[in-house]
Subunit: 190 residues, 2 copies
């Protein structure tokens, strides 16, 4: 997706050879018009699937997942990252490590929001190690729902996340693939 | 906003006299079409203001804030709730208690995302005690930006949050006002 690639070229900051700061367009600030285009693109790529809900993980995946759910015309469910007073019980739960936070968090989805009749599209902003995605997949399996596919805005192909999800048998669509952040340069994969 | 009120009547669950569970339409799952209508309504109410950015707090305010930013045609910035490896420095920071989580969290906004030229519209899903809002207002003041107004989807008027923000001199627009959750009933205020 060239418009996203152009924005990454202009605005992303390389933190180190593993971490790209996308704060100004993906993780902390978003351009709603660009994000809606990303949602339309995911809706187009998965148009052959009878998706019942889009699912994501809070927080930075929410805008793109919302835009995708809007384009398809289905609800959005987002997994919560920790226990709150509002959802102490009746939730599917998986503990996951966080690549960017250096901590473990609990991922939760209310049992009444997912079920065996659901055909889900999982949308997230970025895949690095894929821990959050694998945690969410375990939750989806617990619920009996089907995972129709996975859409990720930015895949760092030099990290194992995207590959490991494909090896699990899932269709993974990514809008931009980054092959390397070595030597202070973003190398895109085409 | 009658369509939101109807959905709350049908789907909200009263946890106790202080807490309303809006998981199925606001905090954990969202209806993108309804959310876009809420965004258009906020854009309409604040159309007299030259808003440069919409600002919110992760996570559950993000969809409505995104929809509002899309309707106005400006970027969305969302305050992060804790320190991650990606934004350890160069951030405005305020510590806030959380009404629903029973814990304190740090609220952060990157310094390069807000500045004195900004005229902000703060959008959130719900206001109870108003702690997150007051924390965000302190961050906005640190940045030198102007806060043009505050839009909240659901105000519980029997709690002090909305009133305290109005007493600070801010224009606060709420789509639905709930006067009481006593006796297992949602009493709307008109």
């Amino acid at each position: 997706m060239d418009i996203l690639k152009d924005r990454i070229r202009k605005e992303a900051k390389i933190v180190n050879a593993d971490v790209l700061n996308l704060d100004s367009l993906l993780n902390h600030a978003v351009d709603p018009q660009l994000t809606m285009e990303m949602g339309k693109e995911f809706a187009r790529r998965f148009s052959g699937e009878p998706v019942t809900k889009v699912i994501s993980v809070e927080s930075s995946g929410i805008p793109i997942a919302f835009a995708t759910a809007y384009a398809i015309g289905v609800p959005l469910v987002f997994a919560r990252r920790k226990m709150t007073l509002l959802n102490e019980s009746d939730a599917y739960c998986e503990r996951i490590p966080s690549f960017t936070k250096g901590i473990v968090t609990d991922l939760l989805v209310s049992r009444n929001l997912l079920g065996p009749d659901d055909n889900l599209l999982f949308i997230d902003d970025i895949v690095a190690g894929g821990d959050a995605a694998r945690g969410l997949i375990k939750i989806i399996r617990q619920s009996g729902a089907r995972l129709a596919g996975i859409g990720i805005a930015v895949e760092k192909t030099f990290q194992a996340g995207g590959r490991s999800l494909r090896e699990m048998g899932y269709r993974v669509e990514t809008l931009v693939r980054i092959a390397s952040l070595q030597h202070g340069e973003i190398a895109f994969e085409d």
